[in-house]
Symmetry: C3
Subunit: 475 residues, 3 copies
């Protein structure tokens, strides 16, 4: 096997080559490498922890089919999603031979050179599965065998990996109408892993959501409140928030196309809500209602203490063809320009000075880092900045984030790292990347005489661990 290239995972990876900076970076990284992982925002399915015997299936089902980062790249090079085993909504035929799909993946793994997905997968393969060969067309089937064998072992049940990964807390993302049965099952199982729900009300709050009226019916049913009026709607939301809190939730999560906010009068809100119930609301009314509900969510957060997360700016389902054939979250959500300064002004003017509110903002438009988000977070007590999000959760994305945000907002108006992933076994790789890039960035401050060693050691522990814990109230 001498000619099979070995996988790449040097101990000093992601650090700048300058010897002094690297030495300091390694020192800082060593301080946080083994700290528990705080995972306040993500999309792992709670089902895998509810069932102690949950199995991930085949390597392809674990690593490729659920991960849109992976299959979007293959698709962009002309490989149909059907050939990658992505299920069609209409049940139409897709490739079922997981070894064949794995072979395609391995032959095209070179596409991920220099990408975060490439870094995460390399880390997972080596650190989680102990693979020592590089993934290529030649090594594909041997690696498949190795992973498949391990996935059958009891050591590779999700609960075991949760412990092995040293996860302190893991938050899922759950619809407002979700009964949280898996979360209840986890709690009742006696297993000690801390898995918490997050309240994500988009599907009932954004009246232009496909199937909105069905969602409202579900909201009525789960709350026992007949949601036939705006007032009842607010009551039902508050009811659900209280339930989520009783199940351990510390945060809510909100998406919208833009950051537009506006306070409607109760009459206006009611009128739009009624039109929406009749299926008559206009696009403009939907925008205004979403903007109003963001303000209402801030108000509720002030009252119940749930941390409010907001991430606008993704044009969801850019391609109807993919959406209609395969559903949402299939790699065709594309960012748009985002504006915060004017858009959030109504919300911030009303609630931004209230220290009971924590409003964590995310963006896909990096131009807002230095221009809008850092100046806002450096003024309004309620505003904190979430880590680089989605496409920007990458080595260079993190560098830009640190360099463009911290000079104006300071490190202490940020909230550490979120892995934001559906891919459970990628969690350690993602935190490792953050911890390394942060260590290297802080080491860069030290070698430039900007902070001293004492400060640098505080900063790395803060950004790797403490800031997330504090911001999301896990203390």
């Amino acid at each position: 096997m001498k000619d099979r290239p070995k996988i790449l995972l040097p101990d000093d990876r992601y650090f700048d080559p300058d010897p002094r900076q690297k030495e300091i970076a390694q020192h800082l990284y060593a301080m946080v490498a083994d700290l528990p992982l705080v995972c306040p925002h993500g999309h792992v399915d709670p089902r895998m922890f509810a069932d102690p015997d949950y199995s991930f299936g085949s390597p392809t089902e674990l690593l490729l089919i659920p991960d849109h980062y992976v299959f979007r790249m293959l698709y962009s090079q002309g490989i149909p999603l059907e050939k990658l085993g992505i299920p069609r909504l209409d049940g139409g035929p897709v490739e079922q031979d997981y070894r064949k799909i794995w072979q395609i993946f391995a032959e095209n793994f070179y596409l991920f050179r220099g990408t975060p997905t490439g870094m995460w997968l390399t880390h997972e393969l080596q650190a989680v599965f102990g693979i020592e060969d590089k993934l290529t067309g030649q090594s594909a089937q041997g690696i498949y065998d190795q992973i498949a064998a391990q996935l059958e072992s009891p050591q590779f049940r999700p609960r075991k990996l949760f412990d092995q990964f040293n996860i302190e807390v893991l938050c899922t993302t759950d619809a407002a109408t979700d009964p949280l049965d898996h979360h209840r099952a986890i709690r009742e199982s006696g297993w000690g892993g801390r898995i918490l729900p997050t309240f994500r009300p988009d599907a009932v709050v954004n009246i232009d959501t496909a199937g909105w009226r069905v969602n409202i019916a579900a909201l009525s049913e789960i709350t026992g409140i007949e949601v036939a009026s705006y007032r009842a709607f607010i009551q039902a939301l508050e009811d659900r928030r209280a339930y989520f809190q009783s199940m351990g939730a510390t945060a809510t999560d909100h998406a919208a196309l833009t950051a537009y906010t506006e306070e409607l009068s109760e009459q206006e809100a009611e009128a739009i809500f009624q039109r929406a119930l009749r299926g008559e609301a206009t696009a403009e009314e939907a925008t205004r209602f979403t903007g109003h509900m963001l303000m209402e969510s801030a108000r509720m957060s002030i009252e119940d203490g749930l941390v409010m997360q907001f991430h606008p700016g993704s044009y969801r389902n850019h391609s109807p063809l993919i959406f209609e054939r395969f559903g949402p979250d299939k790699g065709c959500d594309i960012p748009i320009q985002t504006e915060f300064t004017r858009s959030l002004r109504p919300l911030l003017n009303k609630y931004g000075h209230d220290t009971r509110l924590t409003l964590i903002l995310f963006t896909l438009d990096e131009t807002t880092y230095s221009r809008e988000l850092a100046p806002l977070a450096g003024h309004y007590p309620a505003v904190k900045l979430g880590p680089p999000w989605w496409f920007h959760d990458s080595l260079n994305g993190m560098i830009r984030y640190f360099e463009q945000i911290t000079e104006t907002a300071g490190l202490y108006n940020t909230v550490g790292f979120n892995d934001d992933t559906r891919a459970f076994p990628s969690i350690p790789a993602r935190h490792d990347l953050w911890r390394r890039v942060a260590s290297n960035w802080i080491a860069g401050l030290v070698v430039r005489g900007i902070v001293d060693m004492e400060d640098s050691e505080e900063m790395i522990v803060d950004t790797a661990y403490r800031l997330a814990k504090r911001a999301y109230k896990f203390d």
Copy 2:
């Protein structure tokens, strides 16, 4: 006191760690470290030089209360401005115990890790006040004592510091209606410091300014021209410009929300002006009038030779709560997206080819550096680019500026550095940061074989000293 960490100010600070680059950077920096400071744009109060015995008050009054960079960060972390001694407009109670405020500041000084404010303050404490300890809750009162003692000494009068700082010229920013009494007092005092006014007409030119009609009345009074018509208004402005010039002014300064320009006919201008006098002008008319007055200002500059500075893109007083309680310039001005290419076209088409005009542009939207400003400055003879402004007056802000502007505009369409500060004792720290970052950037060009040593030595002296002097006509 062995356990009190010493303040950090290494001789090689802000330079890249690569030994060869650092050596060249230090060589270049040594060429300019002791050059006089040229300060063509700032907000220092001329009063402090008019009175030879002016005293800065307590350390808190010197370093915290007047500096919105400082208190906005503390506020963002939930510390009320009242607790920081920021005066309320209604005279309501605010903390008066400067030692107590200083203690809060010191305990929270860690918030400034990695920020330009942290770098400036560290420099000031050590280089101006000789403080050797790091500012912490523990060291707070001792450091307060040290600074307070020095502030009482005659060596710490503003005029003494002006000489000690080696300031060649310092421009203030003065309303169009300002009688320039302090400037006259400075001239008549026989003191040799060169303090010049800058003509800032925003409050009379932007008809949507709060209190605009009061300002127009003041303009009438100071000029003896009854400003009851647009024509008289133009005459009064020209009159004031001539007076400012007679007091040494070489430049004007203009702010606006956007960079919109448009030439109105005299009839249109007059009609809007009349509606404004009656309090009836619309928001759109205000925008058009501001756009027109920018063009008029360019015309006047061509005629009288005053350099025209323009910095759009700040959403002033984003929070009415802060504005109403504490007034303007309290850290809640937030940048917005800015557009120059189309917006400035009317002005540039009419005046941009005229070599008698120097139009210095500033931006808070860094995306315009490579996309709009550098291409404009690399074509129109009148356009020059001001240094990185406000939130971008920082180590990384300067690096982005050099990297994104000079390839297209060249160094010679930029105008060196402005400190743009209200905080007089921070001036040396700010110029030092610029000179170091510029030295390091140019050294980076040398080690990459892009410029030779001969060129690099010209470039550093140009950007540290000569370009500002030439652009603002101080020769």
Copy 3:
């Protein structure tokens, strides 16, 4: 001559100073330094290859007068274009003394310090003309003599340089109505150089082009189709595309102010076309028609296989004064903000999933790299990303491109390098800059443990040579 500074062109230029990174960069660069140049997109005049005895004229005519990068910088510093010998459209007097112009250029060559133009010219002077002195006012005339002497030698005919530069293929850009006489002459001459046309239909497709009706008349004449209807217009375009293909074209090229696309019904298209023929089309109709024709061009590309290039976002002829006096392409085209996500959606929804289409996107708005272009290219099979364009074809522009695009799009959704130049002798310098910056970037990935040596060697050959060849179908 000891005191004349020698020109600067170190072997390790443009590489990071870190010794290990530089060593790897040099290794990678050595692999590609001598590979043939693939030039799929540019503006070299085919006439110079049609005539075997074509001469470049004087040094000034070769290096300054045709190069807007050069004279725009001189103009920005107040030197009139007339003094630089730029011909006036009205035949008015301009400087004719090329030595005098050269002297002005040399005296102001310091303006290009740190600019790509400075790097290219330095490279050309040394590598093409063997000049060893730095260009200054003092050395100007001696260097002029040296270049002039060489330009008279048969070694400096374009065909000789083409071979000496090791150009594998060079594409020109040609109007849809161009008879391609020079291309035919080249083919018929028996000379082996591969010079191919590119189909650029802007002047007939964008109905707001100055002189559009004249262009349509020319289209009628050259095709023999009476272009009196939209249907005939489409037929004429398809006819011309077929002709271009018969002459070796593999690509089309499209400019527009924005990336707006929209599919019109045939009736709407016909109605707008008829109004345009009568000179009655509105600006909005022009925008819609351009957006529609982009979609039509994509359809045609799917049918005939021509690669489609699209580069929106330049506000052409920003200054009417320059345009009216000197014509287009005189350095006063200025970039504007550009939007792709929503604008291209109609086109991508209809044609973006078709693997027969290659749509290569360029931008002057770097904010779209990480926000829009990389996410789009990382999903749609048809989309590939062109290299950094125009003002961004520079060392820092390339670094930003690699860092902001490849993490999401991967290297394999990019298409290598285009020199995009009118200045034929600058071609080697431009490719050399790309190959060096790419080598250095990839070496940075190696020293950070992101890719291994095996991958890095594939990547450099791909981006320096193979990707362009494959994307433009030169295989």
